[in-house]
Amino acid sequence: MDLLSNLAIGVETAFTLNNLAWCFAGVLLGTLIGVLPGIGPLATIAILLPITYKMGDPSTALIMLAGIYYGSQYGGSTTAILVNLPGESASVVTTLDGYQMARKGKAGLALATAALGSFFAGTVATFLIAAFAPPLAELAFKFGPAEYFSLMVMGLIAAVVLAHGSFVKALAMVVLGLLLGLMGTDVNSGVARFTFGVPELIDGIEFAVIAMGLFGFSEIIYNLKAQEARDLLKEKVTDLVPSRQDVRRAAPAVVRGTMLGSFLGILPGGGGILSSFASYAIEKKISKHPEEFGKGAIEGVAGPESANNAGAQTSFIPVLTLGIPTTPVMALMVAAMMIHDVQPGPQVMTANPSLFWGLIVSMWVGNFFLVILNLPLIGIWIKLLQVPYRLLYPAILIFCCIGAYSINNSVWEVLMIIPFAILGYYFKKWKCEPAPLLLGFILGEMMEEYLRRALTLSRGDWWVLLDRPLSATLLGIAAVLIILMLLPSIRKKREEAFEGEQD
């Protein structure tokens, strides 16, 4: 069977001692930094990205980055359960029942449920990627520049629809991101654009710097005034092994969450966030004990955590097959691939099968490490959480500065954090979501290039975007999405779906 022989290639790559070690290091570092409140997967990967620069093999680099991703995501759930602080937006839902379970002395059970549910979800999602990526990549080979351009338009609009907050503002943020992405040398004419006379801007702005400024720094400045109100559990976390009755309640929720998350994760936008919210809503609706939700229902942890992890993993599908990131974290993965001279897209699978399948198998390995790493190490994470925020935020700042400096071994990147930190602070004040900006930023140059090629091929005829059926369909979907968003009734439904996500 094709699938099995492909997975065998992956096993060969992922199970080398070197790659296993880096995968483990990635998961450990990711969890360590992800546990720190106020620093999510995006900033964590951005800080640690430079470590991979000197790795000779891009597979190793990507395996480690993927490990950091799961690790930090899992770290986010740990803080959600233990201190009622979501480490990242997707674990907001986990705080609802996870923290209540912890308060009832079932912190160990909640953490174990989250870990085991995530592991199951990760395993299923790994196989889904292995099964669905090749046919999708096949389809992608039929794409011409017009299709790619339309796909990016559709992807960006869908990402905005599925994100929360004002639709028009999010669109404006996408466009701002696209414009910022065009700064630097134009690949076609060699003209240095929007450098404002600063030679350092000729290469454009580093993605990781923008991510750190908008997500790490602005968050810190915004939270300085907030009073510290964290009530950490004082008791020891015990009883990690779920009872038979717990398993009976949690298992179906895990399966449902996995299916939901796997599907939603492929869609552009906040796959992770949306799937955890949707899973929670479904579990509450079909439960025989809906009154227990919000008071420590195990399904309320099992479902969303599995959904979230499955979604996080299947969000690799569009990147690996089409080369199009659907979330800011995936945009960072694309940036990492390009640094290692891997052009993301359908050709990765054929040109670099060991990287492609190695990464997929390592996802499963990474999830396995998470289980064996996190359950015994919970004591350490709790110790880390006892450090008050006033001592943590300087640590986050110095990590970001080291990460930024290491991008090019120059202080220019450190200085460039400053404008984005200030910008991000006001974005937060004015409720402008920074995630769409990052997606636009990474796609800006690609969109321009595809549009240029499409128009050159059609001799300047704009109709090429609608003449080709696939391209027309994609633009049609985008148009329908925009129209739907303008209908008041649907807008209200969307607001309800994201209700309670006020952070």
């Binding site: 669109l171 404006a172 466009v175 400045i221 300085l224 005034k225 202080v411 409720k431 050159t456």
Partner: protein
């Protein structure tokens, strides 16, 4: 004509920001060659986007005067002290690192940034600065082999 009422100050401010960025990019894009649709020049796509940005900015501004978009949550005033301390500490770090090394730049950043939180005591701040400086050197420089200068280059 009825007087217009502002229902959403946040959106009005964001709209002004988007308009500003749009105009900035639009004006600067005109320095480059526009080209034709058949051969897009470097100014083509940015101009398109900048016009779109201005359009969206205007739309957001107009919608701020529509009652359906009411946002009554107050906008907190800018925390100038916190913003200044964090930004200043990063700026100083960047200035000091190449000349004085990490052993000077890191404690300066950590101490200055920690001033932004009124809850810390000096004893705590100094302990934190020492532990983090040493810890970062051990983890990032020695463990992960990142290459930032630990000591002032003139000494080594």
């Amino acid at each position: 004509m009825a007087r217009m009422t502002l229902y959403n100050k946040r959106d009005l401010l964001s709209s002004l920001m988007f308009l500003g960025f749009g105009l900035l990019f639009l004006i600067y894009a005109q320095d480059y060659n526009m080209g034709t649709t058949r051969r897009m020049g470097p100014a083509f796509f940015p101009t398109m986007l900048a016009v779109l940005q201005i359009g969206l900015g205007l739309l957001i501004g107009i919608l701020a005067f529509v009652p359906a978009n009411t946002d009554e949550e107050p906008i907190h005033s800018t925390d100038w002290r916190g913003l200044g301390l964090i930004v200043g500490s990063v700026f100083l770090f960047a200035q000091l690192l190449p000349f004085a090394g990490f052993v000077v730049a890191a404690p300066v950043l950590l101490l200055l940034a920690s001033l932004a939180s009124p809850e810390s005591s000096w004893k705590e701040r100094i302990a934190m600065a020492i532990i983090l400086t040493v810890g970062c050197i051990l983890v990032f420089r020695i463990g992960l082999e990142m290459t930032f200068p630990i000591w002032p280059p003139s000494l080594s």
